[in-house]
């Protein structure tokens, strides 16, 4: 890793990180501020939910209606959208652009003429992605925890909250490694932001479809969201070994494969 490149990249991505973190934190806080009103109108909400098509709650990652009225259930239902989807989009957009940007801006001609190995370039940039993903997860988790403490009506499981946060981080890191991998596959330099965002949304859509439709439940395993357990009110809720293996294994595999590809990649400008 090269510290000059690392700190330069960190600085150039700082504003984007700040904006995404601020937006997700604000959305989380805003949504959680409705929790009190939600509880006070629980009968009306139950009546409304009863007329919704079956599967609507699953779409939000909720397996039981009662979960919605617990503070953690309410948080996780909204967290699905904010950190599991938006956080993943942030991660994949950041990682897919961090190497490719040098190619489509043609700055790679400078970067690769300086005394750096491909490995140093790759790992300096991958380290920036890792740090940014960690920061956005930690900051939004802290902000989420504070809002939970503020709006809660009864105690909630801190362990369950931590587990959910860890799942979010694992998922975001997986998408970050997927972005790096995609960028090393692109032959001619072009932005792949749209493709990255589309991929996250498609994988999330596959997961929700598989939840709603019994006959399609098997295709859910195509999506990493299937391995994220949000059943926070389950007494046995915890980190599942298979999920950790899935996320850690795939993240490592994609990162190391990307490194091997980038080491031998022709940089076309």
């Amino acid at each position: 890793m090269n510290s000059n490149l690392f700190f330069r990249e960190l600085r150039s991505n700082a504003v984007t990180l700040l904006i995404w973190t601020a937006v997700i934190t604000a959305l989380t806080a805003l949504t959680m501020s409705f929790y009190g009103v939600f509880l006070e109108n629980n009968q009306k909400i139950l009546a409304m939910i009863s007329i919704l098509p079956e599967g609507t709650l699953q779409f939000k990652g909720i397996s039981d209606v009662d979960d919605l009225f617990s503070v953690l259930g309410f948080y996780s239902a909204n967290n699905v959208i904010y950190m599991l989807v938006l956080g993943s989009i942030y991660s994949i957009v950041l990682s897919s652009g961090i190497l490719l940007r040098e190619e489509y801006n043609k700055t790679a001609e400078f970067l690769l003429a300086w005394p750096l190995t491909r490995g140093e370039i790759f790992f300096s940039k991958a380290a920036v992605v890792l740090l940014n993903v960690l920061v956005i997860n930690i900051v939004t988790a802290i902000a989420g925890y504070i809002t939970l403490e503020i709006v809660k009506r009864e105690p909630f499981s801190r362990d369950a909250f931590l587990v959910m946060t860890l799942y979010t981080l694992l998922l975001n890191l997986f998408f970050a490694s997927l972005g790096l991998f995609m960028s090393t596959l692109v032959k001619r330099a072009k932005p792949i932001t749209t493709l990255s965002i589309g991929l996250v949304l498609i994988l999330y859509f596959i997961f929700t479809i598989s939840n709603i439709t019994e006959s399609l439940s098997a295709i859910g395993y195509v999506s990493p969201y299937k391995f994220v357990n949000l059943d926070t009110l389950n007494p046995n809720y915890g980190i599942e070994f298979i999920s950790v293996l899935y996320f850690a294994g795939l993240t490592m595999l994609l990162t190391m494969t990307s490194f091997r590809l980038y080491r031998r990649k022709d940089i076309y400008l």
């Binding site: 090269n2 000059n4 330069r8 150039s12 801006n105 043609k106 700055t107 790679a108 001609e109 400078f110 690769l112 003429a113 300086w114 005394p115 750096l116 190995t117 140093e120 031998r264 022709d266 940089i267 076309y268 400008l269």
Partner: protein
């Protein structure tokens, strides 16, 4: 005896079915200013990008100062500077910030002394954002960053593109002065006059192949001019007896166009006996020189 500054043997780079460069063989001696000319798309930038390890060779090998361009790429770059043809430096950075960033890859302090020296020479405003700079000023930044670490080898790709004549002359003078201190220069261009002004030898590349490596003096001796002569009325065989015509003159109405490489005095003296209304002497394009040499 030290290794050549650049030693390329049987180097080929293909892009799938597309041609890149084919079987390039080239040696650049340490301490020389070597020209590399060819029309756009001939393979100049591809050759340079293989030397800098942006592209991997399909076959053959290339060495810089005795080191392999793939295996020893990082070591090579401590001693090599590069001016790319597109001066697209990081647009959101300020000039000084960018130069210090470049400098820190070679020295922890960013080599402020050298930055001062070169920015003064090229009259660069160090506080301006790179995105606000003109093409010429971006080129200057690109040149400065390539020389910050006082490289043993400088590779330049179309360096004068966008530079005004004053800056071009300062740049050439700087190259000559660094060359006197021992720096080798690999000067890639499609402008023959730039190459002629600086280089001792030149390699001509066309359609991915080196077609000639020649002393610049030899080129100069055979220096071609493109001549247009407009006669006052139709003349039969107006150039009769004139020596030094290198191609078949093209006649269009009352104008005759031809390539000439002989004694210019004899040309003028021959034409003074004819009834002419206009005459133009031009540098032939590289393409015309290629056609002349290799047809």
């Amino acid at each position: 005896m030290s290794a050549p500054a650049i030693d390329i043997t049987g180097l080929t780079k293909t892009y799938g079915r597309d041609r890149g460069i084919e079987d390039i063989n080239l040696q650049v001696d340490e301490g020389e200013i070597f020209g590399f000319i060819g029309p756009n798309g001939a393979g100049k930038s591809t050759t340079i990008r293989v030397l800098l390890n942006l592209l991997f060779p399909t076959s053959g090998k290339a060495q810089i100062m005795g080191m392999d361009v793939v295996r020893d790429s990082k070591k090579i770059k401590y001693h090599t500077g590069y001016v790319p043809s597109d001066a697209n430096a990081y647009p959101h950075m300020e000039t000084e910030e960018f130069l210090r960033y470049c400098g820190r890859f070679f020295r922890p302090d960013g080599n402020g002394r050298r930055i001062n020296e070169l920015t003064e020479l090229f009259e660069v405003d160090r506080k301006r954002k790179i995105s606000d700079l003109s093409m010429g000023n971006r080129k200057k930044i690109s040149i400065i960053q390539s020389l910050l670490h006082e490289p043993k080898l400088l590779i330049v790709d179309e360096p004068t593109m966008g530079l005004d004549p004053l800056m071009q002359s300062r740049f050439f003078e700087l190259l000559r002065s660094e060359n006197r201190k021992g720096m080798t220069v690999f000067f890639s261009s499609h402008t023959l006059s730039d190459v002629q002004m600086l280089c001792r030898r030149v390699a001509i590349i066309r359609e991915g192949r080196i077609i000639k490596v020649e002393e610049i003096e030899t080129l100069r001796k055979r220096q071609l001019k493109k001549i247009y002569v407009e006669f006052n009325g139709q003349e039969d065989n107006p150039l009769m007896g004139l020596q030094g015509i290198e191609d078949t003159p093209l006649v269009s109405g009352r104008t005759v166009k031809f390539l000439f490489s002989g004694d210019i005095n004899r040309l003028l003296s021959t034409l003074s006996n004819r009834n002419i209304t206009d005459m133009t002497i031009e540098e032939p394009s590289l393409e015309e020189i290629f056609m002349h040499y290799y047809n």
